[in-house]
Symmetry: C2
Subunit: 207 residues, 2 copies
């Protein structure tokens, strides 16, 4: 058998280039040639990795989705001993992508979301990522309920419901920061205030 290369690593490299370009010039502003140049490979090499541009974008969106969810998971694993409340806070922070160093990732995400709203094949992987994040948040809420108060007067919050709210709020805040409608500090303040409210609702008997 003749020459063979590590396609997996090359695909990842190309996906990185797609992200860089999508961050700079928006979605649809990435061309195969620019991608090839950014990834420091020839156009032909890109074409060998992906049958078409659509296939390349699909891989890139899955790549980004995996990276975000993995980062959230890692953040949780890094601080396992703390309370469910702070864990929720950290998770929400990571999802909201508010920090300056993740601004690019947020722009890429938004670019793909907008594209996916009119392109069904792209929407699939994004839904998968969102479902993963929502389930992760819901699990944290469940833990918070369990370790929290045993108060029986108030209606117990639905973890999936709270996770949906949190995810949508984080997403909206990220968008508003990207647009410059909110500063990162304002968004963080809103997010933390919501978390504080949620925590209070979970059960006031908390120290």
């Amino acid at each position: 058998m003749p020459k063979q290369v590590d396609y997996e690593s090359r695909r990842r490299r190309i996906a990185e280039a797609v992200c860089l370009l999508a961050d700079e010039h928006g979605p649809e502003g990435v061309s195969m040639r620019d991608v090839a140049a950014r990834a420091q490979v020839s156009l032909g090499a890109v074409q060998r990795c992906f049958r078409s541009k659509g296939e390349m974008l699909l891989f890139a969106v899955e790549y980004v989705g995996d990276r975000v969810t993995e980062r959230v998971r890692a953040r949780l694993a890094a601080s396992p001993a703390q309370s469910a409340a702070t864990a929720l806070g950290h998770a929400a922070d990571e999802i909201a992508l508010l920090r300056e160093e993740h601004r690019a990732e947020a722009r890429i995400w938004l670019a793909f979301v907008a594209q996916a709203a009119v392109s069904e094949p792209l929407a699939g992987p994004l839904r998968t990522s969102y479902a993963a994040l929502q389930n992760l948040l819901a699990r944290l809420v469940t833990e918070a309920i369990g370790s929290g108060s045993a108060d029986e007067g108030a209606t117990p919050p639905d973890p999936q419901h709270e996770a949906r709210t949190l995810l949508a709020l984080a997403d909206g805040l990220t968008t508003h920061v990207l647009l410059g409608h909110l500063t990162a500090e304002e968004a963080e303040e809103v997010l933390h205030a919501h978390l504080a409210g949620l925590w209070e609702r979970l059960g006031a008997a908390r120290r």
Copy 2:
């Protein structure tokens, strides 16, 4: 003086065409030629109305922004006698663009937002629209506080803070519905639950 046409109405017609195409093929998927065909005018006529494509898109985004905020304002004017609480609910409903008949408008909005995240000239009008909506919501919250309880124990919520939260939540929910991650019913349920929580926070002494 020779022939003269109503440029204002033609510009609006072209903006409508831009919206229709942005809804179908996403942002950047709208070409001058397609726009001209949709608006039933020639390419030359479009070029006379707008010096460049960017100028056309800029006009279109302002047009959409005005239409959304105007619709929210109209909805409020149509039900002036009701309580501040229901007014807030209606406003949030309109902003979230969850109903099927506004799905297209939501897609267009998302398309422009994504584009604006990497194109500063487009971001300006969007920020203006968001600021208008946030102020409108904040005003409603203020009214709700005024007409609500006079309880002094709890800390009074900051109207601007609550407006920011509401706006971001509505935006995030709209996006998730467009992607198919949430159904319109789920999103509406989340939004109403948040409003209920807010209302409760404003003061429990309410009938």
